[in-house]
Symmetry: C2
């Protein structure tokens, strides 16, 4: 349903439209009762149609933790009662070169997004994790290490994998000087994961307070990007910059921080950016790259790594009824560092 | 000497200032009689002070071919009569990590440029190849394969290595789809070298005529960037784009041509560029990089490769007296593809 048609409905009709239809459990499907769902800024962009491609009714949520209630006849890897997760994707072609490489997020035919995609079973939009239940193809279901604080695992399914994927792809580890730019949902996971991978981690921020917070999360030092002298002294220092700033911003000051062959990976800003200086790239053979979420195999690797290193997100739990206030606080970047909805607070009908 | 002081001189004083002082041949030095020197757009930018850091008197030229006339007592690799080349650099610290990796062009203390650098021996600016003689530290002298057309080798020392270095660094070869953007001095060498390395080469240009020319140089096909349908059909096609456009330009249409994990390397434009779209980078995990000239070891590797594959630049020979006209034609991109000065036409006093 288009925005205008949805907006024109009465409140009763809108509520009625939320009786979400779900497909029958197919041979490769896993049915999940959702226990927790993280709140991602993408949920807000989508529900408010800020990216201009929303389909209503819209059920956001792609940081999903739950228990298996039923599996299809062909499912070998999961059984009723298993603790599982679902992230940003629920299907892909699995036949293209990208899928075969485990890069389903770059599927040449387009991965099926957990919400707002076109559901091949029912035709309407796919519906995400702000819900009681979800049915997902087994290959897109993740195993959750039982040792972790389960509710704080939810944000790993989007925020976690979004920063893990570039850290893993660029093989970041011991001996690397890593800068994490921005301390929000993504940035705080970037600091934790880069630290656990053995890198020397610098928090790059405009805020001394965030700098101090980052140290408690695992940053070894802090670079204040507003301080000209600090930035000058840090020129050509970093092997890798994880840029989590979620909006358009001037990149040149950060590019200048890259060492020879260094890469800055953009994971937050998916909009037009200000210009960059060609000379800054030529010097030191620097690179600017982008990276979007991550593949299923590497998501499982991240979850297993987090299990081994006891890493979860820092979360603030909310009831479903608090979602509008939570969204407003996300927009104001007023959360440390991710809201997670306790799905037991959603009435059973939903 | 600063611009204003130089401009204030009489014509006689200016000529007198061109009695270039040269250092005595030191133990690690090679003295060279220059036979040919290529004309690079950088010569013009520098001599006309368009980059704002010219020092006068200015003797440009960093695509130098000549014969050894004398070697220092400690020089083992060269002897009188050897055919040699000198490129964009004449010295570097050789002790930093970059130099130890063979990346003298990214020397952490700054490589000494062939012209316009600060000469550590004499204090003034270094003087380049528009000259009868030059004295260069042996480690920055290249061996020229005797099988090649010597005068057409000169442009390999800058235009050649500038495109070879990224092709070699990113290990381009068989099975890679390479696009070369722009057909000038750099682009024509990019087409020849990428072809010889075994890649499938597409010329990307605004000009159908240049497209046809590129095919004669080794391009397998042509993509007209002005044709919307062609550009759309080529989305996500290329593993590697060698962007030789020498001025600021919109990068987004080219970024969209990159396949998963593809890289566009900027080698021409060293100025502020228009903005790029973050979403284009995130999709396909694309990268935009820069690369500047190349190291001494890889320059020798390129020259040896060109010797084996009989590759030289397409050149138009000029006398020293024609230089002003040639420069005007370089600025108008009216040369196929590089001017080379026959240095025997320069009077002996110079």
């Amino acid at each position: 349903m288009k925005v205008a048609a949805y907006a024109a409905q009465s409140a009763e009709d809108r509520l009625a439209s939320f009786a979400i239809e779900r497909r029958a459990v197919g041979p490769e499907d896993v049915a999940i009762d959702i226990e927790y769902c993280g709140v991602c800024h993408s949920d807000i962009h989508t529900a408010r149609n800020e990216w201009g491609r929303a389909k209503y009714p819209c059920v956001p949520g792609h940081e999903i933790i739950g228990r298996v209630t039923e599996v299809g006849a062909g499912v070998a890897g999961f059984a009723k009662g298993d603790l599982v997760g679902v992230g940003c994707m629920v299907d892909a072609c699995l036949g293209c070169a990208a899928c075969k490489d485990g890069d389903e997020q770059y599927c040449e035919k387009g991965a099926l997004m957990t919400y707002g995609g076109t559901d091949p079973h029912l035709g309407g939009p796919t519906h995400g994790g702000y819900s009681k239940r979800i049915i997902v193809r087994d290959k897109f279901v993740l195993r959750i290490p039982g040792t972790l604080d389960v509710k704080a695992v939810a944000p790993l399914l989007c925020a976690g994998i979004t920063v893990w994927s570039p850290l893993a792809h660029w093989k970041i580890g011991k001996g690397h000087k890593v800068g994490v730019i921005g301390l929000g949902g993504l940035g705080h996971m970037g600091v934790k994961l880069a630290n656990a991978l053995g890198a020397h981690v610098t928090m790059i921020t405009t805020s001394p307070e965030k700098g101090e917070d980052a140290k408690t999360l695992g940053a070894h030092d802090v670079l204040l990007s507003t301080e000209r002298d600090q930035m000058k002294a840090a020129r050509s220092r970093f092997d890798f910059l994880l840029n989590t700033v979620p909006v358009a911003h001037e990149m040149n000051p950060y590019i200048g921080l890259l060492a020879r062959n260094g890469t800055m990976v953009m994971v937050g800003a998916i909009e037009p950016m200000p210009g960059i200086h060609g000379g800054l790239l030529l010097a030191n053979r620097r690179r600017v790259a982008g990276s979007g979420i991550g593949g299923i195999r590497e998501t499982q690797e991240m979850l297993d790594f987090c299990g081994e290193h006891n890493i979860v997100a820092d979360v603030e739990m909310i009831d479903m009824q608090d979602i509008n206030e939570a969204w407003d606080r996300v927009v104001k970047a007023n959360v440390k560092y991710r809201f997670v909805i306790d799905m037991s607070t959603l009435p059973d009908a939903a």
